[in-house]
Amino acid sequence: MTRVAVIVFPGSNCDADTLAAARQAGSDAYFVWHRDGDLRQADVVILPGGFSYGDYLRSGAIARFSPVMAAVTAHARAGGPVLGICNGFQILCEAGLLPGGLMRNARLRFLSRPVWVRVEQTGTPFTCLYEKGEVLELPIAHGDGRYVVDARTAAELEATNRVVWRYVRDNPNGSTNDIAGVANAAGNVVGIMPHPERRTAPALGGQDGARVFHSMEARHATQHAVDVRAVDDRHLRV
């Protein structure tokens, strides 16, 4: 069972949905208040959506200095899986854990509607149960969702397959290269603008997002199995 810390900032509003989605996938999920410096031995950290600090200054700009972010950064640097959803994605970019930044939607409107994204990278802890090329219907709810990176970084993201999800059919916010989600170079830190936690059951309009949470549980179980074999191996040698 994966221990999943869902960080709660002042202004987070998708924290309960995210906790429920992780628990539905079988994880031992719990909240961590942003002033806590202790992730309580989390295997996975999720920064949920919302409007931390009212989006003052820039979305995520103030939350990235919350006390908990030192622990989140240490967890990420040690290779621990981190997922940022919507405002969580903005915070990860502001914190420098993901490249690029999120700016005002190209047509200036706040958008709250379903979009379609194609799964481009299935090697991350959050997409390993998807098929490459699958198209998912997920909702967006953001005013600052236009992902921007300089041309060189964009080319690098493409060349190293770090675009995890890409908008298809239409690009709702003007994001560079239709990017809806990216990973860091190591692949353990992932950000996504749409909300997978809001599509985890038929009653919620679909369950295209559920495997994001099942993926982290499956990845953790696989790693655990490998650990056990390694221990057995060593035992046999002794």
Partner: protein, 77 residues
């Protein structure tokens, strides 16, 4: 200020509004933020250096924004 290479939809909207009102010769409009800091500092240069440090750390995001700093009444530098 949003970086020059990036799309500035607010600037574009204002530009179109100015054109619609008949103001001619507006080549480009960009919309940014103006922050006013009141600092206690040993010298004007010290104040500028500290304001720049604040911009680099928090006030501006170098991925998306450029900034200028100026002492009250002086041109940005």
């Amino acid at each position: 200020m949003p970086r020059a290479a990036l799309l500035d939809p607010q600037g574009q909207a204002v530009e179109h509004a100015l054109q619609a009102l008949g103001f001619e010769g507006v080549a480009r409009v960009r919309v940014g933020k103006h922050l006013v800091l009141e600092l206690t500092a040993a010298s004007p240069d010290d104040a500028l250096a500290r304001a720049r440090a604040m911009c680099d750390r928090l006030l501006a995001n170098p991925v998306t924004e450029d900034y200028d700093v100026a002492l009250d009444g002086e041109a940005p530098r």
